[in-house]
């Protein structure tokens, strides 16, 4: 009967569109949710401490997470491919030290040269990670755990053979200015982080290679089957992560008054927190730079809020942990709910 099959057709179309909308919404829920959480924090805190709600303060927050955000962008590239980079803290510490030392020893040298040196070092360290994982076939957890130690050891060796500590007075002011300059009234650090986020985010969205990164993490075998060069993509992701860590290290050295061999120890925890809270799936295949930026900002805002409310900073790490757990549990529950809804809808249809 034509009428019933037409009705069935229309019902199918409706359910189809609804399903698409439901799932599309769910994937954007993360960014919306983070914005809501941000708003909630801002609201509840500014009620108790009005100075929270000032541009100055907001700038402070962004400044405090700018460097973390840069590293988190690199980590996102790696996690998207179903890997992880635990060595980011060591790479940042290494490049921070080397760059600061470079400027200390050769104070007259070109600023750009120093910056490039730091980035190049980061790139090389990242490429080593990539080689070990992609071509050495060592699981990323093991490989980057090893380089976390190895790179940190290298910094110690370098620092014990040169100088144990580099102070702000040791380096040219042009270098330190990187961290304090403002362009159009906005701190350069924030701008750099924003530009990087936009570039990488755009790359992930608009380039073939970026889309292939997602495919590698979503279904590595299927990606292999259609001829995607998985090994090179993973290698490139680690290299890019290293490069960004290098840049972050350069900026770290400019921002923090003292640079020694223990810099950025434990940074990987905050980075992974930002990435997980930002909605990137730890198994790869999904997640956005926007989400990660929001994740970093939420964490930075939490820290700032603690400060302003005179709550001891000691709650911060516990909050990081709770945020990670909360994000992961929420994701699991939402996925379950979505799957159940889809299945029950299909049964009715």
């Amino acid at each position: 009967m034509t009428t019933t099959s037409q009705e069935v057709e229309r019902a199918k179309q409706r359910s189809q569109v609804n399903q698409a909308r439901l799932l599309g919404l769910v994937s954007r829920v993360r960014e919306l949710g983070l914005l809501i959480v941000l708003l909630l924090i801002v609201l509840t805190v500014s009620v108790q401490a009005p100075r929270f709600l000032s541009i100055d303060n907001f700038e402070q927050i962004l400044l405090s997470v700018a460097i973390l955000a840069i590293v988190a962008v690199g980590e996102t590239l790696v996690v998207l491919t179903r890997n992880v980079d635990l060595s980011v803290g060591s790479i940042v510490g290494f490049t921070a030290f080397v760059t600061a030392y470079f400027f200390k020893q050769l104070p007259g040298s070109n600023l750009l040269l120093g910056i490039l040196l730091g980035c190049a070092l980061g790139l090389v360290l990242g490429m080593v990670n990539g080689l070990i994982v992609s071509f050495g076939r060592v699981p990323a957890i093991v490989a980057t755990l090893g380089t976390l130690y190895a790179y940190r050891g290298l910094v110690f060796i370098v620092s014990s053979n040169t100088t144990s500590q580099i102070n702000a007075s040791d380096v040219p002011s042009s270098y330190l200015a990187l961290a304090t300059t403002q362009i159009f009234g906005i701190p350069a650090l924030i701008l750099i982080a924003a530009v990087i986020a936009v570039i990488v985010g755009y790359f992930l969205h608009a380039s073939q290679a970026g889309r292939q990164l997602y495919s590698v993490g979503s279904n590595p075998e299927a990606a292999n089957m259609i001829g995607i060069r998985r090994d090179w993509l993973v290698f490139a992701a680690f290299a890019a992560s290293g490069l960004l860590c290098g840049l972050a290290g350069v900026l770290w050295g400019a921002r923090f008054a003292t640079v020694d061999s223990t810099n950025a120890t434990g940074l990987e925890l905050a980075v992974i927190a930002a990435v997980v809270v930002g909605g990137v799936n730890i198994f790869g295949g999904s997640g956005t730079i926007l989400g990660v930026m929001l994740g970093a900002i939420v964490l930075g805002t939490l820290q700032n809020a603690l400060n302003i409310l005179n709550v001891s900073q000691f709650w911060l790490q516990a909050l990081y942990g709770a945020a990670i757990l909360g994000a992961v549990v929420l994701d699991a529950l939402i996925t379950r709910w979505v799957q159940r809804t889809i299945l029950s809808r299909r049964k009715k249809a």
Binding site: V84, L86, I132, G136, R137, V138, P139, I141, V142, A143, L145, G146, T147, L148, Y149, A150, Y151, R152, G153, L154, F156, I157, S160, S261, T265, G266, L269, I272, A273, V276, I282, F283, S312, F314, W315, L316, Q317, A318, L319, Y320, G321, A322, A323, I324, L325, V328, V329, A332, L333
Partner: protein, 331 residues
């Protein structure tokens, strides 16, 4: 089993060689190396990591991981210190600390088994949470006055020997864990789960319950390590043992345990523990900063997986070449 045994033996054989090498180098480099006091220094330093490496081995073999152990050590240490400082008897403080470890491990286990969350992410989260709670409990203070009877437990030795009490505890635990992993029903179940979770389930093994128990055990042992650590340094601080978890995992992987589960032995892990201890010791005898050994440890870890991979690839290439030559000979 024979083939598996022979493979394991070859990795352990390598570890024995490395250990012997390390001891050899140590005794050549320093006259103090083989002294009793040095033995004491060598072992006591590594005991907390060693103890935590035991349940970690079981967890990794079963296909999971627990990165929250060091944070738990810090948390239980702090709880112990706080209770002692506020006037409670030592046995109560220790008991509550152990209980905290048990409960925290249970939380880990529930999140992994009931909500089917990946243990890597869960324990990174609890790593931060438990460490954070340690800071909340004690802030930036430290509790440092402990009864001598207690601290003797940490850095004292068994009378008449150079073996620290913690070493004895470790030895007892090793015996128990070896019995469990290599000789008991539970151990067989762990290997089955780590190799093939589905087949284990189809064989009537309650995978969820076993994993929950493993995490609880890990928490309990971490708490024990916390007690020992506090006693040894006579100090309960929130930042006790920061970063230790990676050391524990490194030692387990170095011992030949496969990160994906299903393979490995405690013999290898114990050897790896002593290799790392010797390394630490040799470096300190040479007055090299203990952190430079990070480089060595990192390299060892990578090579422990990379080495066999490369060896296997070479084998495959050789086999292919032989086949090609063989077939061309037939022509």
């Amino acid at each position: 089993m024979k083939r598996l045994k022979s493979f394991l033996t070859s990795w352990e054989a390598l570890l024995v060689l490395l250990l012997a090498l390390g001891i050899g180098i140590g005794s050549v480099l320093s006259p103090y190396f083989l002294s009793g006091f040095n033995f004491y220094a060598l072992t006591s330093n590594i005991m907390e990591i060693a103890i935590m490496a035991l349940p970690m081995t079981l967890i990794i073999i079963a296909g999971e991981i627990d990165l929250s152990v060091a944070s738990l050590l810090g948390l239980t240490s702090v709880v112990l210190g706080l209770l002692w400082q506020s006037g409670h008897p030592m046995w109560l403080a220790i008991g509550v600390a152990l209980l905290v470890g048990l409960v925290a491990g249970c939380l880990n286990g529930l999140l992994v088994t009931k909500l089917a969350l990946p243990s890597l992410v869960v324990t990174i989260g609890t790593l931060a949470l438990y460490r954070g709670l340690a800071y909340v409990v004690l802030g930036d203070q430290a509790v440092s006055s402990f009864p001598t009877a207690f601290t003797n437990l940490g850095f004292g030795t068994i009378p008449g020997t150079e073996l620290p009490w913690s070493g004895l505890i470790f030895a007892i635990l090793v015996v128990i864990f070896v019995m469990v992993l290599h000789f008991s029903r539970l151990g067989r179940q762990l290997y089955a789960m780590g190799n093939n979770k589905e087949a284990a389930r189809f064989s009537g093994i309650n995978v969820g319950r076993v994993k929950l128990m493993l995490f609880i055990l890990s928490g309990l042992i971490a708490a024990l390590a916390g007690v020992i650590f506090t006693a040894r340094f006579s100090s309960a601080r929130p930042d006790n043992a920061v970063g230790f978890e990676l050391y524990v995992v490194t030692v387990v992987l170095l011992g030949g345990v496969n990160i994906f589960g299903g393979r490995g032995s405690l013999l290898g892990v114990v050897l790896a523990i002593f290799i790392v201890a010797v390394l630490q010791n040799v470096f300190s005898l040479l007055n090299i900063s203990g952190d430079i050994q990070s480089l060595a440890i990192g390299l060892l870890l990578i090579l422990s997986v990379l080495g066999p991979n490369i060896a296997r690839r070479i084998q495959v290439v050789i086999a292919h070449r032989r086949l090609a030559m063989g077939s061309s000979k037939q022509v």
